[in-house]
């Protein structure tokens, strides 16, 4: 019987490259590489100004079958403990209510990042020409699919087994009204999959994964445990075991372009922009979720940030890449200033805008206020007094007729949104490093909060056209916008978001918001 040309080609190749006698993963990997698949003439679908070398190696050297065995064992452990032991001990109901709300944000948002990372690493597979390097990216594509499912599963588990499901389930339907969504999409989506393919790798692997997965995915397990959450460490530590491979992929991406002289013209610029892009959102948001979204504190966010972002990543990791011409980002110094106060500034605004969220926020208790003041001297005079005033005006009670955003309006403290990062800021009531810059181009005004973002916009204005909620809903009444943006629970009237986590507290409805008569106004129109 005649054999197909493919079978003949495989038979001929095997005659030259004898199959290994053992099934050791490393030996099989070496054998597979000996086929010297020729991707040298590979023409990527994606734009990149970098030339990736054809002989780049991969550090993990995993073959797909070995990979599948390893990951299936991890999944068995993870889902086994979640569905057996943790369900039997009612673990999801033992989580502190404040932390339950934080996980609505953390896992839903990380799911978006993991989902976009699938596309990002697929793009890198397409762009690379070295077989080993492609193999490394292939492993990561599979990882990211797994992580997307894991993040989705966390919210599913909390919704099914735990307390207050609203927001764990179907958070994405509120994406048009919540101001945190757009900044998250900027880092987790645009940053990972738009622009130069190698720049995307720098955003995802060199900064997102090598820099921020330690403070995000590892630190979150400590905060979760401290607040009674046994599910998140089970899942997130399983995710983190794969992140090392991703960091190694980021390292090898840099190695693959290092010998191209042209790369030196772009690499540190792309790294600086990628770092600023990622930190501008993660630094305040992670600090806010950990400190304000928990009852039991682990350590001040500024210490976590200094240890993992400034010293471990900015010093050691980037230092190791120094021989390839990589320098610590110039913006790292400014980021360090933000690490102290930016999350406090953001929580003030986030609480003021609570009806637009898909989670419940809680004002700091007296005990927590002491912790903040002890760790951030000056906190009380800036933030503590404001929270006391809001509480005294009944901000948690639907009958009070008071929304904290009114305090900003009454005291002439306009809230702006940075065009590039999409992070809200209030320059007249802030201890962070943000400064207001407003520019007009062809009749449209744009606000920025720092020099790095302003330069990114001036260099590529067509990349940062995202409209913010003040522009989108100018002149619209708040309860109408919440209803239109699906920010209500299954009864069609009670808000998903609430300004407290008290089981005895009354829940706000659309009617409570409507009677206040809060109307969106674009602060840029007043300038």
């Amino acid at each position: 019987m005649a054999i197909s040309s493919a079978t003949k080609a495989a038979t001929d190749a095997l005659a030259v490259n004898r199959a290994p006698v053992s099934v050791g993963a490393q030996e099989v990997h070496r054998w597979l590489q000996s086929f010297t698949w020729d991707f040298d003439k590979n023409r990527t679908k994606y734009s990149t100004k970098y030339k990736m070398a054809n002989d780049t190696k991969e550090q993990f050297k995993l073959i797909a079958k070995e990979y599948a065995r390893m990951e299936s064992v991890k999944d068995e452990r993870q889902f086994g403990s979640l569905q057996d032991v943790l369900t039997r001990v009612d673990a999801a109901n033992r989580v502190h209510p404040k932390w339950n709300e934080s996980m609505k944000v953390i896992s839903n948002f990380l799911e978006v990042g993991e989902y976009n990372a699938i596309a990002a690493t697929g793009m890198l597979w397409d762009s690379a020409t070295a077989p080993e390097q492609k193999n490394g990216y292939l492993g990561q594509v599979l990882d990211e699919i797994r992580h997307t499912n894991q993040c989705g599963y966390i919210n599913y588990y909390f919704a099914k087994q735990g307390q207050d499901a609203a927001g764990h389930n179907d958070a994405r339907r509120t994406r048009a009204i919540g101001p945190l969504w757009k900044g998250m999409k900027r880092v987790f989506s645009d940053g990972f999959i738009s622009g130069d393919a190698v720049e995307c790798s720098i955003n995802l692997q060199l900064v997102g994964e090598a820099c921020f997965t330690n403070p995000l995915i590892v630190a979150v397990t400590e905060w979760a445990s401290a607040n009674g959450d046994e599910m998140t460490p089970t899942v997130f530590l399983s995710i983190e075991t794969d992140e090392l491979r991703h960091m190694a992929n980021g390292y090898q991406t840099v190695v693959s372009i290092a010998n191209d002289e042209a790369a030196s013209k772009y690499l540190n610029t792309d790294l600086n922009n990628a770092f600023w892009t990622q930190q501008k959102y993660f630094t305040p948001v992670l600090g806010m979720m950990f400190e304000y979204g928990s009852h039991f504190k682990v350590e001040p966010w500024v210490k976590t940030w200094n240890r993992w972002v400034y010293e471990d990543w900015g010093g050691i990791w980037i230092g190791r890449l120094g021989k390839y011409g990589v320098e610590s980002p110039a913006s790292l110094r400014d980021a360090k200033k933000d690490a102290y106060w930016a999350h406090h500034d953001l929580f003030l605004i986030a609480y003021a805008l609570w009806p637009t969220g898909f989670f419940r926020l809680t004002l700091p208790t007296a005990e927590e206020a002491e912790w903040y003041e002890a760790n951030y001297p000056g906190w009380y005079d800036m933030y503590g007094v404001v929270y006391e005033e809001w509480r005294a005006r009944g901000c948690e009670d639907p009958n009070s007729g008071f929304l904290p955003i009114q305090w900003f309006i009454e005291n002439n403290h306009p809230v702006y949104i940075d065009r590039v990062s999409q992070v809200p800021f209030c320059p007249s009531y802030s201890k962070g490093a943000s400064t207001l810059r407003v520019l007009e181009l062809n009749g449209k005004k744009h606000s920025f909060s720092d020099q790095w973002g302003e330069r990114m916009w001036l260099s590529e204005p067509e990349r940062y056209e995202c409209q913010n909620i003040f522009e989108q809903y100018e002149g619209r009444e708040l309860s109408e916008v919440i209803a239109e943006g699906h920010g209500v629970r299954s009864d069609g009237k009670t808000l998903i978001a609430q300004p407290h986590t008290s089981k005895d507290g009354k829940l706000w409805t659309l009617d409570d918001i409507k009677k206040i008569g809060c109307v969106f106004a674009d602060p840029l129109k007043a300038l």
């Binding site: 994606y46 734009s47 407003v438 520019l439 449209k444 204005p461």
Partner: protein
């Protein structure tokens, strides 16, 4: 009740789009709409909130008219105005290859997208051309990225400073 998804501006355009009966008319409307409302350097902001939705609806209609009027060969090789797609693409790439100024390069790239984004140009030609143009633009933009101080960069970009703190 008018809202962000359902409002008189969109209704007006839905009627206008429904009235398109030929590919030539659809192409002309789409080209004009993109230049006026989808251009990153536009001065008319009247459709800032609804422009992308309306553009999508025009594209849907143009794609249907194209399917009705083009045979298979034209579908793969011609723009909706009838021009040979590869010739249009080659011209844009040649112009970009000769360009050494990042501001001119970004105009070339933006103009190409406004004029040719599918369904105007067949996807197989458009995407590869977009890759080539984008690669060159990124090379120009990222070279000497910090050469100009922000004050100079604002002037070059032609922005008006409203507030600087």
């Amino acid at each position: 009740m008018a809202n962000i998804h359902d409002n008189p501006k969109r209704d007006e355009w839905v009627k206008k789009i429904a009235g398109l009966t030929t590919l030539a008319a659809g192409h002309a409307l789409l080209k004009d709409f993109r230049v006026k409302h989808m251009n990153p350097f536009k001065t008319d902001w009247s459709l800032e909130l609804d422009g992308q939705w309306i553009e999508c609806k025009i594209e849907e209609k143009v794609a249907l008219l194209k399917r009705a009027e083009f045979n298979d060969a034209k579908f793969m090789n011609n723009c909706t105005c009838g021009a040979n797609a590869q010739e249009v693409a080659d011209k844009a790439v040649a112009e970009m290859d000769a360009c050494t100024d990042m501001y001119k390069a970004e105009r070339i790239h933006i103009d190409f997208r406004l004029a040719c984004k599918p369904p105007v140009m067949p996807v197989n030609v458009f995407l590869d051309t977009d890759r080539l143009l984008g690669t060159k633009l990124m090379e120009l933009r990222n070279t000497d990225y910090y050469a100009l101080p922000l004050e100079e960069l604002r002037k070059v970009r032609g922005v008006k400073v409203i507030t600087l703190q």
